[in-house]
Amino acid sequence: MNEERELIRVEGVSFQYHSVPVLLEVTFSIAQGDFLAILGPNGSGKTTLIKLILGLLRPTRGRLLLMGKPIEEFKAWSKIGYVPQKSTHVDLLYPGTAKEVVAMALPPSRRRPGQGKKEEEMAIHSALEQVGMLDYRDWPIGRLSGGQQQRVFIARAIVNKPEMLFLDEPTAGVDAATQALFYEMLHQLNAERRVTIVLVTHDIGIVNKHVTKVACLNQKLVFHGSHQDFCRSEAFKTMLASGHLVAHSH
């Protein structure tokens, strides 16, 4: 079996917020092609871990390597797409269209006016098409439903054809039918384009259907391994018993 390229390495990472420990000595890695779910009770440090990996927070201790480079030296952020938690709170008066929201993530053009415009248009077109939002490209983002907005945010996250996609509870507040389509789309990105996906979720239905690996947090890393091993683990039983996992039909 081929060993996959390691994209992220988290080494002994701890994080404190105003002297309150949030993460303690977390060590694990994410390989290319993984579809990893980060699970854990509320306040277990899931979002903090993602923010540390994305450089939005600095660890109190430990170090992070992104594509082999220490995070302080990492520059290729366009290879990483991110859909933050609760990004669906869009002001109704915000004038940006779906197309303009996707275009935000494109690198700033250092070209003469008109040059490269066609390539940009194609990238936006392709990203919106992949999430099934092409027909809504000229709609102001504030007038789309929560599920549609979320798809546009995914399009924004994949417009640069990233190698990795981070999603923090991306379907909170989205109806079940849209969720099913949404996770099918993530599955396709992972299976067909080999996009590595890291997903924070509470939904065991998604974990069972799409995820290949699981990292379970409760300040410390209490489990990291394959989905099959997770289902047999003590961590799984504990989470299920304490009601930290929910099951939606997808």
């Binding site: 450089g55 520059k75 366009s78 933050p84 494109l106």
Partner: protein, 268 residues
């Protein structure tokens, strides 16, 4: 109508007014969208201290105001970041201090109250060539810098966290916006005065947001509202013998009212 444009002072006022209004309209859209509109108001008060300092030291008041406003905008940002204060609190602290410095210097000098009044209430029809040159030099730079960073600024105003994760240097853009706001406020002082300069930043952008259905449209509408306000406002000032600062702002307010009715009609 020809008679207005035949006067040199009217031509200077129109040129400077239009340039400043366009810079304000573009900048204002980003400020309004990131709910930072009142920074213009705060910095305008700070510039009062700067103008008084300039008059006190007998140097170009607009130059002194510019330096003070840029320093104050950076200090406001630092105070927010380091002391964890809310933006409006930091703005309130510096704007009060700026006004207090202005009042103290005016009292100490006891001779330039009339000049200070022209900055408080604006006096664009009396704008001199040096001030026109300053507007012609700086306002296009403000617009160019904003448009050159258009996409990143749009990302910053829409989703700061996602923008940071995408490698956008949000702290640098914050500084850039603060400096550009200082420059625009100082240029706007002569057009509508310290007390009304926020109107140039907020009303065109606010009007545009009522009807725009894309970011690009919002920029164009904001630009049109600002330009129309200056042209019609100056004509009204000249025809009715009213202060130009008041007529420019009232014109933009009337346009805002029309846009508001237009939005209500569209929604109904």
């Amino acid at each position: 109508m020809d008679t207005f444009f035949a006067y040199g002072f009217f031509q200077r006022a129109l040129l400077a007014g239009l340039l400043v209004a366009i810079a304000s309209a573009v900048l204002g859209l980003f400020l309004v969208l990131r709910r930072d509109a009142m920074i213009g108001h705060g910095l305008a008060h700070v510039t009062f201290g700067g103008v008084a300092l300039g008059l006190f030291l007998n140097i170009l008041p607009l130059g002194a105001a510019l330096a003070v406003a840029v320093l104050a905008s950076l200090a406001i940002m630092k105070l927010k970041e380091k002391a964890g204060l809310h933006g409006d609190t930091a703005i309130g602290i510096f704007s009060s201090a700026g006004m207090a410095v202005g009042i103290a210097l005016a009292s100490l000098a006891g001779r330039f109250n009339a000049d200070l009044m022209s900055y408080l209430f604006g006096d664009i029809l009396a704008i001199d060539m040096r001030e026109v040159a300053l507007s012609c030099g700086l306002a296009p730079v403000v617009v160019f810098v904003l448009l050159a960073n258009y996409r990143r600024l749009m990302f910053l105003t829409f989703d700061r966290e996602a923008a940071r994760a995408a490698g956008v240097r949000t702290a640098r853009l914050d500084i850039l916006l603060a400096v550009l706001t200082s420059v625009t406020v100082v240029l706007g002082m002569k057009v509508v005065g310290i007390l009304l300069v926020t109107a140039l930043l907020v009303i065109p952008a606010g009007s545009a947001l009522l009807l725009a259905s894309s970011f690009r449209q919002a920029l164009i509408l904001s630009f049109l509202v600002a330009s129309l306000s200056v042209v019609l406002g100056l004509i009204a000032a000249f025809s009715l013998d009213l202060p130009a600062s008041a007529t420019v702002v009232l014109t933009s307010f009337i346009i805002f009212g029309v846009f508001y009715l237009g939005r209500r009609r569209r929604l109904s």
